[in-house]
């Protein structure tokens, strides 16, 4: 048994402690916004935040995140209103296939919470996810725009 707090809600789960968080989210809780890409922490499609830190859920065991606050893409929008990062992603028309984008959006959200005005280097360091469609140029522009939106009073 494990007890996890996901998107502000407590869940008692009958899962092995070594099960990666990704599969709890996807297969036990049907939170399918978090994607499976590599299973080895290499691509970032499975990125969620754990106590505000961008975390690759495919290599993060359930037992290691008990007692933390886990947040997934599903609740980033507050009562239907897109977060600043999501808004910027729409404005810059970032996604193509879109499969990797929840991971990018979560990683960007964590980055901007900690570094409201990141430099190019800081963006490069924080966003090591893979996008096979090659949306990188729009991602960079959208990160900048999200920082701006956040500063001007939008939510995270």
């Amino acid at each position: 048994m494990a007890r996890l707090t996901i998107n502000g809600k407590g869940h008692d789960l009958d899962v092995e402690g070594e099960m990666p968080l990704l599969w709890v989210l996807r297969d036990e809780l049907n939170l399918t916004g978090t994607k499976f890409g590599c299973g080895a922490g290499l691509c970032g499609a499975c990125t969620v935040t754990v106590d505000g830190e961008a975390t690759r859920s495919c290599i993060t065991t359930v037992e290691s995140v008990e007692g933390t606050n886990i947040r997934t893409i599903e609740t980033l929008a507050d009562a239907g209103t897109l977060s600043a990062v999501q808004q910027a992603w729409v404005e810059h028309q970032v996604p193509q296939c879109g499969y990797c984008q929840p991971g990018f959006i979560m990683a960007t959200s964590a980055l901007l919470d900690q570094t409201p005005d990141p430099s190019d280097d800081e963006i490069d360091e924080a966003l090591t996810n893979i996008c096979r469609c090659g949306t990188y140029e729009r991602i960079r522009a959208a990160v900048r725009r999200a920082a701006q939106l956040k500063k001007s009073g939008g939510q995270s």
Partner: protein, 757 residues
């Protein structure tokens, strides 16, 4: 084999030489029958949901919701939005309005058959009896499929015609309902109003009545000057749900009582499962079943991770094939066959040896490219619910809807198979295959009554792909005293994609002669002088190869555009000037090159460890050019600084979508050129995950500026043509910066790495 399959076997042939064959097959099927095939889908009919299909492309519900049917897989290329724009233009609706949506239809209609892709013919090209038979023969089979950058190309006229027909049917219904002549009515989005504005009637109230109207003939479609939706950067319709994490990909399908399966395929190409020692696997937590699939084993569980843990714990014995494929041996074979001139096909004009003798200078170079994996972000998967009564539902991110249905039908005594096509996390040609659907259908058949989602691990996906074939090209040219190419010889060795794809996916024999995919981009190259020879050699191997974004062009653009660069150096000329001098002055390639030189500010060498590389290549009816700027340090670290692209794809439907495809296509090609290599040793693929098969990331990606050539020609493809210029632009840029020619990809083989800015 069912009747339908054998019929397909007869008609499914690819390449220009096949048209006559298809037409003969068409005559065999019967002219009368073919005449009854509804290739246009312009009629209106009642949908079983209580709504009305006003043509095959548009559904109108009583609550005034308009659904546009787009029978092409949305895998990132933006086809739902672009195709939707074609419909909206003529239907006269606001595609961004809340009551409008786009969906991939589960029904396979003849009107959706992608005969443009299968026959490599654009509907507007000719309208003779051969086309009539070919089109109807394909349409009779339905053959709903996505590929070859053909959605817009194949439906440019037909879908606008459908939009216009639907508009006229609805307008006639409104006229009848309001008692006002149709030409007096005004349309505002999804409603019509009387001239005084007093009476308004909505599409939703007219759909039933539209059924009784006669479709008008000879509707004049809007001209370019009147377009209000086509040519606009309409925001992608799928983005809101994609940024919320709400878009449903194949892997996100969830059904009541659904279970998950992990797969382990025999690790060697051609190997089979001989024996499975299950050990304690069935006793593990959550394990439901273990299914032997002959070439793979699936473990079914209540959770994907549990399934994967269990499949890895199995002790499996294999039956090995007679021969073990080896990619370095294949290369050696291709090389020696080129040397022996052991061609599978050869085309030539004039006396080649004589022209080489007369040349002022001859240039020769041998190029090599590796096998490549597709590595879509969403690994292969399919969900199948094989019900107790043998009706089957399939949910799959597939480019081959119809072939997927056949695959399910062939997995057991299925009746009434429906294939629901989901969003796909990338496709790039990988999802034209049926392997992932076949495995899922077999597991579901074994599990009858319970829906099962079969998901491949990244390693399974990488090691059991249908790869872009590696290739070798020996290029030779003679230049005259003025530096013009007087004779060109290209000898290309590569596995045939069609010979691998057709038997594997459609139960059809391999084509009798080497297909044009091996030579596409060279065979009709505008660089070909009056004297030329283009030859192919093939190799027989068990490595499965398939369609990889831009297919043969991905190899041949590298050979052709790098070789042209080498010829320029040989002639002592600037590469851009040399190419301009050797391209026909009025060619689309020359026009793109000129605009590219202007936009990139092409003024010759950059110096100081910096270099610019140039490539222009036509594929899928579009011409794309790229200039890439790099800097290279003493450690051979390459910084991708900036790219400028020019795209001539004829009429542009959605500029921002085209820009995205150009940028993405270039990144896709640069990724491959920088890192991509699949090697096969002892029949096994070496690379397993993204640490061994690397991807370009944000820190390394160049900025990419895209310019679209204005024009009103018929639209060309955009999903694939951005990729071919990438590799030659990179290799040419490195030469410009360092003086070192890279003739073997990826560039890492020559010691180059990519800087993380």
């Amino acid at each position: 084999m069912s009747k339908k399959r054998s019929l397909t076997r007869r008609i499914f042939m690819i390449g220009s030489a096949s048209i006559a064959g298809v037409a003969i097959a068409g005559v065999g099927i019967g002219t009368g029958y073919l005449a009854s095939v509804d290739v246009d889908g312009l009629g209106a009919s009642k949908n079983d949901t209580g709504s009305v299909d006003v043509t095959a492309w548009i559904n109108i519900a009583p609550d005034n919701k308009v659904t546009i049917y787009v029978p092409f897989l949305e895998m990132g290329q933006g086809t739902h939005t672009g195709m939707g724009q074609l419909v909206a233009e003529e239907l006269g609706i606001d595609i961004e309005a809340e009551n409008v949506s786009v969906t991939h239809p589960s029904r396979e209609l003849s009107a959706y058959a992608n005969w443009t892709m299968f026959l490599n013919r654009r509907p507007e090209e000719e309208a003779g009896p051969v086309t009539w038979f070919s089109q109807r023969a394909i349409a009779a089979m339905r053959m709903v499929a996505t590929g070859g950058s053909t959605a817009i190309v194949g439906n440019w006229s037909g879908v606008r015609q459908a939009g216009a027909t639907a508009r006229e049917l609805l307008k006639a219904a409104a006229a009848q309902k309001l008692g006002v002549p149709a030409d007096k009515l005004s349309q505002h989005h999804t409603e019509f109003s009387t001239p005084d504005g007093a009476q308004i009637v909505k599409f939703g109230d007219l759909a039933e009545l539209a059924l009784q109207q006669t479709p008008p003939t000879n509707i004049k479609l809007r001209g370019h000057e009147d377009f209000t939706v086509i040519g606009k950067s309409v925001p992608r319709l799928d983005i809101p749900e994609k940024v919320r994490g709400a878009a449903r990909y194949g892997i996100d399908v969830r059904l009541p009582d659904m279970v998950f399966a992990a797969l382990h395929q025999a690790p060697v190409f051609g190997a089979k499962i001989k024996k499975i020692d299950e050990g304690q696997a069935r006793k593990r937590h959550g394990i439901i079943d273990i299914v032997n699939l002959e070439t793979a084993v699936a473990v079914v569980a209540d959770n994907t991770w549990r399934a994967k843990q269990a499949v890895e714990a199995l002790d499996i014995t294999y039956e090995w094939p007679a021969e073990f494929a080896d990619s370095s041996k294949i290369k050696a074979d291709l090389k020696s066959r080129i040397e022996a001139e052991d061609y599978t096909r050869t085309d030539s004009r004039r006396d080649i040896p004589l022209h080489f003798e007369q040349a002022a200078k001859t240039i020769e170079a041998v190029y090599e490219t590796p096998y490549l994996a597709h590595a879509t972000m969403e690994p292969m998967n399919t969900t199948v619910w094989w019900k107790e009564d043998d009706t089957v539902e399939v949910w799959s991110p597939t480019q081959s809807q119809t072939a997927t249905r056949w695959a399910a039908e062939a997995a057991g005594s299925a009746k009434d198979v429906t294939v629901h096509v989901t969003y796909a996390g990338g496709g790039f040609g990988r999802r034209a295959e049926t392997d992932f659907a076949i495995y899922a259908a077999k597991v579901a058949h074994a599990l009858k009554g319970r829906p099962v989602q079969v998901i491949w691990s990244r390693e399974e996906d990488m090691r059991h792909d249908d790869y872009r074939p590696g290739a070798i090209a020996k290029m030779s040219a003679g230049l005259d005293a003025a530096g013009k190419i007087s004779v060109l010889k290209a000898e290309v060795g590569s596995q045939s994609v069609f010979a691998s794809y057709l038997p594997r996916n459609l139960g059809m024999p391999a084509p009798a002669s080497q297909d044009e995919a091996t030579l596409e981009g060279i065979l009709k190259s505008p660089y070909l002088p009056p004297a030329w020879q283009v030859s192919a050699v093939d190799v027989d191997t068990s490595i499965p190869v398939g369609f990889w974004r831009s297919v043969g062009h991905s190899n041949n653009s590298f050979f052709m555009e790098c070789f042209a660069d080498e010829c320029a150096t040989g002639a002592g000329l600037d590469p851009a000037q040399f190419k301009l001098a050797n391209l026909p002055a009025n060619s689309r390639e020359a026009r793109v090159l000129k605009l590219l030189m202007e936009k990139a500010g092409w003024t010759g060498p950059l110096g100081n460890g910096k270099g610019r590389g140039l490539a222009v290549h036509k594929s899928f009816r579009s011409v794309v050019g790229a200039v890439l700027d790099v800097s290279v340090d003493d450690e051979k670290t390459v910084t991708l600084e900036k790219a400028v692209m020019v795209c001539d794809c004829g009429t542009v439907i959605n500029p921002r979508l085209v820009e995205a495809q150009m940028q993405g296509g270039l990144i896709f090609g640069l990724t491959a050129a920088a890192f991509g290599e699949i090697t096969v040793e002892q029949g096994k693929v070496t690379q397993g995950n993204f640490d061994e098969y690397e991807m370009l990331k944000l820190a390394s990606a160049p900025s990419i500026e895209v310019h679209l050539m204005p024009g009103t020609d018929l639209p060309g493809g955009v999903g694939e043509p951005g990729t071919p210029p990438a590799a030659p632009a990179l290799a040419n840029a490195i030469f410009a910066a360092t003086g070192e020619r890279i003739r073997t990809l990826p560039i890492s083989k020559a010691g180059y790495s990519i800087a993380e800015a």
